[in-house]
Symmetry: C2
Subunit: 282 residues, 2 copies
């Protein structure tokens, strides 16, 4: 059991981290900090927050383990901000959807003092805020752990044990491989759904009321917070652009098969897609 | 109340039509026909089938109203097939996802004898077969009705009353406008999801197991029957190709905004998409 767990910026993911840790007795004490005063006020008295701090530095002072749950663009600045206050030897992890740039800079910011082991639990929602979090958000979900070749082995094992204790399934990958994978299975689907909604938004508004459940499902993730996703796209820009390019080629192949009245080619693409879909977990 | 309602090819949609009609006492007698002998055998004794016929001609002989529920490519051949057997003045409708070509040819096939009023209920599933049907599939769902300018007004009202009696919300559009609308809100999302799955099928198969609920939702419709959708794409080819072209431009705009590191442009597209998504019904 940890003595003190600190969660910085407990929104949907961070709130769920704290709730999951509390319900599984992962830490004796849970300390939180949030940038906004209203959020800090809303956290007081919740059973998964023992202490709500006014500053991130104060919140990490006694922490054995710090989980940084800010939007991706603020993870490195937040780590830089706490670097002077953190206990020597403490472990810092995060929940960011991009790992390459974050792991490199956060590790450097803590070098010689504490350890950064990047993480990315594949759980979430188009909802935001700790109010939508729950203690089982990570249960049975993959959680990427992205140590560097020279990361401290004890810190890596401690981070793996933490995420496993929240019932996530830990998957170790390099930060670069992580970024390539999520560009395809998460960021690309989001870009596709957002582009579809942005396109349909220019059409006759009455059409929208006629849509069936298919369009609703296809576009659910486009309901996500625009600023969060702008930040994710920016940080994973190169991998996402590669994935979009590959997808455009696939869509063009389907388009050409339809344009050429080629039933075998159309059927083959649809059938290949169907087989892939049938094999998705969940 | 109708005396005899005939449902040709009762799969998910046709089975649901018959179940909905039975539960709402829309017809005294429900007659069905299915092409496959095993399906005909499976229909016998179900409470929403009073008579199971061996041929479509036999099934329509006493019908006041015939609902053709075959895959879209077989609707016109089926109507041509029953044209000689149908009662003079009877009404024929359908559930096809494409209307222009079907309404034109089916109306011509019945000319001088019976009436064809095309319909397309916006309800369904990636599942197929009457086993997945249910009596409330159309409740509160839009159902396009696509009469021609010279369609018999009484036949149009009778068709509207039938779909309303199944608790669908009847929306009247020309066949051409219908095809443009569904190309955008139904066929395009399907093409996009299928192309995404076909693209990801070429990637490392281990990636699939790491996907979250976002990819699952985004691609649900790609699990639909490949032959049914190949037929729909072929029949609505021109409108679908126009919609795909427009979507490709929208995706390119997002791609360019990401490539140019233009946060305001990326945010604006994501926000426009988010607003559209929030306004979807359901």
């Amino acid at each position: 059991m940890l003595d003190t767990l600190t969660v910085l910026a407990p929104g949907l993911l961070g709130g769920s981290v704290a709730m999951a840790a509390r319900s599984r007795s992962v830490a004796r004490r849970i300390v939180v900090w949030s940038r906004r005063a209203e959020t800090r006020a809303s956290l007081k008295g919740l059973n998964w927050c023992d202490t709500v701090c006014e500053t991130a530095e104060e919140a990490v002072r006694e922490a054995d383990l710090v989980v940084v749950c800010t939007p991706v663009e603020h993870i490195v600045p937040t780590v830089e901000n706490i670097a002077g206050a953190i206990r020597p030897g403490a472990l810092v992890t995060d929940v960011g959807s991009v790992k390459g740039a974050i792991v490199r800079h956060a590790t450097a910011a803590l070098a010689g003092r504490a350890h950064f082991i990047g993480a990315h639990p594949m759980a979430g929602s188009d909802k935001t805020g700790h109010i939508h979090g729950h203690a089982d958000l990570f249960r049975g979900r993959p959680c990427f752990l992205t140590p560097l070749p020279d990361s401290d082995p004890d810190a890596v094992e401690k981070a793996a044990a933490f995420w496993s204790a929240l019932d996530a399934i830990v998957v170790r990958e390099s930060p670069e491989t992580h970024d390539e994978i999520v560009a395809h299975i998460s960021h690309l689907p989001h870009a596709i759904a957002s582009a579809l909604c942005a396109y349909l938004a220019d059409k006759n508004p009455l059409w929208r009321d006629l849509a069936g459940p298919g369009l609703r499902d296809t576009t659910r993730i486009a309901g996500g917070d625009a600023d969060l996703w702008r930040g994710i796209f920016a940080l994973n820009r190169d991998e996402l652009l590669r994935a979009i390019k590959g997808y455009q080629d696939a869509l063009e192949a389907l388009q050409a098969a339809i344009a050429n009245n080629d039933p075998l080619a159309v059927r083959s693409i649809l059938e290949r897609g169907r087989n892939y879909r049938e094999g998705l977990p969940g």
